[in-house]
Amino acid sequence: MSDYMLLFRGRNRSLSPEQMQRSIEKWRGWFDELRRSGHLKDRGHPLQDSRKVVTGRQRTVTDGPFVEVKDLINGYTVVTATDLTQAVDLARGCPMLDIEGSVEVRQIEDGSP
């Protein structure tokens, strides 16, 4: 078993109140299912938009590199899965995908040789 980080991207600001509520309810169902099946390692956090990037020896602080809103990471969750294929299957159920978002699945390096 390994841990995988699910990175959520995308945002849909044109949803109606009812659609938003339904989406939130789906997220709750998705997390409940991950927990029930023993795959939820760390529910994680949403991320705010405000950000700065510190670069190089000069410790230059910038607002960029600029990315489009749809490429901005706005949250993460950690799941446990037997392999990448299973982790991807878990990500498939993410409600983010129903509102035109995407989920990136990355295995967390555990350092074992």
């Binding site: 959520f8 945002r11 600001r13 949803l15 109606s16 109140p17 009812e18 938003m20 509520q21 989406s23 939130i24 309810e25 997220w27 709750r28 997390f31 529910r43 994680g44 956090h45 949403p46 706005n74 949250g75 993460y76 969750t77 409600p95 983010m96």
Partner: protein, 419 residues
């Protein structure tokens, strides 16, 4: 934390009303933007974190914080609610006055104010209904268009026309002025009545959509009955609420388990909602004060006759006929005349019913109404004229407004063919 059904929609209506109290009616679009932004933030945060203990308070606080930022930034560029403008312009009074205006107790009155504001007499009734759904019920243009089986462009036009008219009045309607209140009340009642009817008789084929429109009308009429209205609702408001309850009790049997329309005559009366019926009768009793006899009184009385009758045969059709006649004298309409004729057919036989239908003065107005042809079909069928009945049902099929109606008339047409 589980969210209450339609919490977002309902909070949207409350929050927009409350923020408009601060921003002024001319900034309604701004209030809607602030609310939408608060909701977007909720979507992002609650998705991963889960909903907070008190979701409504979280949403309102988020919107309030955004409102403060915005007002500080734009106070020179924009004017806000005229009656509190000077306090909003002053940094030391800005926060306390906004806190006061957005306190939970104040918001209840704001919904009422907004409801009355949406029903200005100089704009069309259909605009009132669309505005109420958009502003107070949190439905988007697309959702309203789909519920009304109308185009988005048509609904958009209706709503923007309404908002333009609202913007001209700047302040929310003053519900404490008794004289203005009574004058506007009739428009508000009518809008809620039309909203309910859209759910009950409307063109949408989706039972859930229709039930939702009915529930929204009932939620809003409850505000009219509540303390925000000064504690003494008018008898006609009680009658309107009664009418909604008595009809809503039949809603689930109106559309059967297969999503098909079921005639009142074939409904399983044991499935009618007893609690709603009891509440309907209680409200009808409360409406029986004063000298006013509104059309809602009469319609509610008709509904109560059906609710009271254990079977179709045991229905007091004579009473129903005279109630329809009273309704005709208050609000003459060929649809009411048609209903009266159907009641006469129940009491005196199908031939008499057909005669009455043929005597309806403006009956050409009914030609676009599929239940007119269908009623003739039913009566001819009962009279044994299968071929004539079949033609009427075919006519009804041709002008049916959705697949559910079409299927219903088709079923009736096929029943003409049985030996």
């Amino acid at each position: 934390m589980e969210l209450e059904d339609h919490l977002f929609r309902h909070e949207a209506g409350r929050m927009v009303s409350a923020l408009t109290r601060v921003f002024g009616l001319h900034n309604l679009a701004l209030a809607q933007d602030v609310v939408q932004e608060a909701f977007c933030r909720a979507l992002e945060v609650w998705s991963v974190h889960g909903a907070p203990e008190n979701p409504a308070a979280w949403l309102m606080t988020t919107a309030k914080n955004r409102a403060f930022d915005l007002m500080r930034r734009e106070k020179t560029a924009r004017t806000f609610a005229p009656d509190v403008e000077w306090m909003l312009q002053n940094e030391s009074t800005l926060e306390p006055i906004v806190e006061e205006l957005l306190a939970p107790d104040a918001i209840k009155d704001d919904e009422l104010r907004m409801m009355f504001s949406c029903c200005q007499p100089n704009i069309a009734e259909e605009v009132h209904v669309a505005l109420i759904l958009n502003v107070l019920c949190g439905f988007t243009v697309r959702e309203i268009a789909s519920a009304f089986v109308s185009s988005e462009a048509a609904i958009e036009k209706r709503i923007s026309r309404g908002k333009k008219s609202l913007a001209a009045s700047k302040s929310l309607f003053d519900v404490t002025s008794r004289r203005d209140f009574s004058a506007r009340l009739a428009s508000v009642q009518r809008a809620l009545y039309l909203l309910f009817n859209e759910g009950y008789h409307g063109a949408s084929a989706e039972a859930t959509v229709r039930a939702e429109l009915c529930r929204e009308a009932m939620r809003l009429v409850t505000i009219l009955l509540g303390p925000a209205c000064g504690g003494s609702p008018s008898p006609s408001t009680y009658a309107l609420a009664s009418l909604m309850h008595l009809h809503a009790a039949r809603l689930s049997t109106r559309i059967d388990a297969y999503g098909q329309l079921t005639m009142l005559f074939d409904q399983d009366r044991s499935q009618w909602d007893g609690q709603l019926i009891a509440e309907g009768f209680r409200l009808l009793d409360l409406s029986a004060t004063g000298a006013e006899l509104s059309e809602y009184h009469i319609e509610s009385a008709i509904a109560s006759m059906h609710a009271k009758a254990p079977t179709v045969e045991e229905t007091d059709w004579s009473a129903i006929i005279s109630l329809y006649e009273a309704l005709m004298s208050l609000r003459p309409s060929p649809v009411i005349a048609l209903n009266r004729a159907i009641a006469i057919a129940q009491r005196d036989g199908p031939a008499r019913g057909i005669e009455e239908i043929q005597a309806i003065p403006d009956r050409e107005q009914l030609h676009a109404y599929p239940f007119y042809a269908a009623a003739l079909g039913e009566l001819e069928l009962r009279n044994g004229n299968r071929a004539v009945a079949r033609d009427h049902f075919r006519e009804a099929i041709a002008i049916a407004r959705n697949a559910m109606e079409r299927e219903f008339f088709d079923r009736r047409m096929r029943s003409c063919e049985l030996p």
